[in-house]
């Protein structure tokens, strides 16, 4: 069975046709529990998320700030396994019909086996992967298997990426391009830097792929600001923090659904 890269492409194209940015939500699998994580994905989609990235928790999340580190830690202490991540993707996709990507570090996939991982993710209905510590020059094997199984390879670009390198990265990527709004790890920020708009412009000059902006966005006003220049707005830590701050799981699910609703309004106010 082929993965859902086409669903990802048509979803982002539909948002563009509606003259708005897409809302992309990130939630770690296994947080607060595997079933709770699946419910959280359903909640953000019910609130208005167009695409969901499911995190595969890692013991050493060097690109994540304290909020996602805490969630990963809870998930790993709970014993989350790759089979649980696949179940999260499958059940979330079957329940919502939206494109579901996996975001993780490279070692878990390297260890699990690239063919095994891509085949299982495609079979579960996944749409692709974001692998922020797998640079383009090390990605040939991954892309071969991702292409074979109909999965998108979403690369991250950063404000420090030079133009020639942006061209190399976007030529190798598919689905969309993840533009990091600033130099730093994941986490909410008071403002999303002006660097983001400049990076989106430089990235667009190299590709027709949608360019979506992540890192730091946590509220509707920021989402609207980013939607003014990007094809998609990616929100992670703010959802995780809403779950962490809630007194119980039901309240957490209500909070992420409500936040997704606010952000979905934001991405329509460009």
């Amino acid at each position: 069975m082929s993965g859902n890269i086409e669903l990802l492409n048509t979803t982002l194209a539909a948002a563009k046709a509606a003259d708005r940015a897409a809302l992309i939500a990130y939630l770690p699998a296994g947080f607060p529990t595997v079933d709770g994580g699946i419910e959280a994905v359903k909640a953000v989609v019910a609130g208005g998320a167009d695409v969901v990235e499911v995190g595969l928790p890692h013991s050493d999340p060097v690109l994540d700030g304290p909020v996602i580190q805490t969630a990963d830690d809870i998930a790993l202490r709970g014993g989350v396994r790759i089979a649980d991540v696949m179940r999260t993707v499958r059940e979330a996709y079957e329940a919502t019909g939206v494109p579901i990507l996996v975001m993780t570090y490279w070692n878990p996939i390297d260890r699990y086996g690239v063919e095994r991982f891509t085949a299982e993710l495609a079979e579960a209905g996944g749409a692709g992967c974001i692998l922020p510590d797998l640079p383009v020059q090390e990605s040939a094997l991954w892309r071969e298997h991702a292409d074979k199984h109909g999965l998108a390879t979403v690369f991250v670009v950063a404000p420090s990426s030079q133009d020639a390198r942006l061209a190399t990265i976007t030529a190798a990527g598919s689905g969309f391009v993840y533009a990091a709004s600033l130099m730093g790890v994941t986490g909410t920020r008071a403002s999303v830097g002006a660097q983001a708009q400049e990076l989106v412009g430089r990235t667009r000059a190299t590709t027709d792929l949608p360019v979506c902006v992540g890192l730091g966005v946590s509220n509707a006003a920021q989402a609207a600001e980013v939607a003014g220049f990007a094809d998609g707005v990616i929100v992670g830590s703010a959802f995780v923090k809403a779950m962490l701050d809630a007194p119980d799981e039901a309240a957490g699910l209500a909070a992420v659904r409500s936040l997704a609703g606010e952000l979905a309004e934001g991405v329509r106010k460009r």
């Binding site: 890692h58 013991s59 050493d60 999340p61 060097v62 690109l63 700030g65 580190q69 790993l76 396994r81 790759i82 570090y105 490279w106 070692n107 878990p108 996939i109 390297d110 260890r111 699990y112 922020p132 510590d133 797998l134 640079p135 020059q137 090390e138 690369f155 991250v156 670009v157 950063a158 404000p159 420090s160 990426s161 030079q162 390198r165 990265i169 990091a180 130099m183 730093g184 790890v185």
Partner: protein, 428 residues
């Protein structure tokens, strides 16, 4: 003796242009760091070709570090090693008390050449942190050191030294609260502050060019020792022995001997409470290839690629990874790696102290314990070179508790045992 102390690998064949030692190495880094890591590689290549860089580093190595370091024969210690002759390469006598200063001075000069004003570093035992804080004081650079919270406790003396030198020391509370987590936190800082910050990486791991560059700055250890031993013993050693955490002092000792096929290169990994207990940091003995901290190498991990928490009494060896060149040397059979327990290392520490009047670091004591075993295997005609990578002052609190040396302790083995349990309890 020549006045040249910066002696980069003359072969230039390994690693490849992409930073691979066979199947190991590479650059597995986030896009945000690609430009900075590439800048380090370009600047290091320029520096290697610039006689002014070598001249400045050589001057520092002679007049600041105190190179060449001595080679000391230890016959009373060697009596416990089957009668083999043992020589110690005295990196403990370098300024700041370990081999770490060799690499730090090289990268500090590079930091200046790149026009950066701030340095960050990780440290386990605190020796790399102290050396880095020292170089930052010398060159007027801002300095932040990341250190696992457990290590700040067991190496409190070095925390005080770093602060005395003007560095900010950040106790890292995530994960296993040891060296691995200090590196994670340093990477997070680097991503956010890369414009003005150089990450002065302390071992031969990390993304290319760090494994090759840090090795080059430490090659002087083996080059000097080889020449000194030929003068003193009239032949090459049967074995060159070093402790291995990330592997910087070991690669520094081994590298000059790689072409000498008769010289066994023996790395001593921390077996902690014993490899069979699961409480160890013996990466090459018990690990599998994977990616950690920017390169492919052997890693202690589970079947789904989660890094497992290491353990060693030695903060400097308490790391679940290893430099990629060691993984390569293991796979091609040129390097031999064996595991040494906490207890064997502590016994060797006390033995060297009492037979030779030299108190080694607990890290280096792993190599000494390995040498005691090797000596028995080689017999009376054996000749062993050991890298004494650091001095043990920083470890006196751990050692005093282990052996029951404080006045408040009843100096009986039973109490020493309970202290040991307490220390080890803290370490987990």
């Amino acid at each position: 003796m020549t006045s040249e102390f910066f002696i980069p690998d003359p072969e230039g064949l390994i690693p490849s242009a992409e930073g691979y030692f066979g199947a190991y190495g590479g650059k597995f880094i986030p896009e945000a760091l690609v430009a900075a890591v590439d800048e380090v590689a370009v600047e290091y290549d320029k520096a290697k070709a610039d006689p002014a860089f070598a001249a400045e580093l050589n001057e520092l190595m002679v007049n600041y570090t105190g190179r060449p370091s001595a080679l000391t024969e230890v016959p009373r210690f060697a009596e416990h090693a089957g009668g083999a002759r043992i020589f110690l390469k005295r990196e403990d006598l370098n300024h700041t008390g370990s081999h770490k200063i060799n690499n730090v001075l090289g990268q500090a000069l590079l930091t200046k050449r790149m026009g950066k004003t701030r340095v960050i570093a990780e440290t386990g035992a605190g020796q790399h942190g102290v050396a880095t804080a020292t170089a930052c004081a010398l060159f007027g650079l801002d300095c932040t050191i990341y250190m696992g919270e457990i290590d700040t406790q067991r190496q409190a003396l070095n925390v005080a030294r770093m602060r005395m030198l003007g560095a900010e020391v950040v106790a890292v509370k995530s994960g296993s609260r040891t060296l691995k987590d200090a590196i994670n936190e340093a990477f997070r800082d680097w991503v956010a502050n890369v414009d003005r910050t150089h990450y002065l990486f302390g071992t031969v791991a990390g993304p290319h060019p760090f494994p090759a560059m840090v090795r080059d700055f430490h090659r002087v250890i083996g080059v000097e020792a080889r020449r000194q031993l030929l003068e003193r013993a009239g032949r090459l050693p049967d074995a060159a022995v070093a402790c291995v955490g990330g592997g910087s002092n070991a690669i520094g000792l081994f590298h000059a001997f790689i072409p000498d096929e008769g010289v066994r290169l023996v790395g001593c990994e921390p077996a902690g409470h014993g490899v069979e207990t699961g409480e160890h940091a013996a990466t090459l003995t018990a690990g599998e290839p994977g990616i950690l901290h920017g390169s492919r190498s052997y890693v202690l991990q589970d079947d789904e690629g989660q890094i497992t928490e290491p353990y060693s009494i030695s903060a400097g060896l308490d790391y679940p990874g290893i430099g990629p060149e060691h993984s390569y040397l293991k796979d091609v059979g040129r390097g031999e790696y064996r595991a040494v327990t906490d207890d064997a290392a502590m016994q060797a520490l006390r033995l060297l102290s009492r037979t030779e009047g030299i108190i080694p670091a607990i890290e280096s004591a792993h190599a000494l314990a390995g040498a005691l075993e090797l000596g028995k295997e080689l017999g009376k005609d054996g000749l062993i070179l050991v890298n004494l990578s650091g001095r043990g002052d920083k470890d006196m609190d751990t050692a005093a508790r282990y052996f029951g040396l404080y006045d408040t302790d009843a100096v009986v083995e039973a109490d020493a045992d309970s202290d040991r349990a307490e220390i080890e309890g803290d370490a987990k």
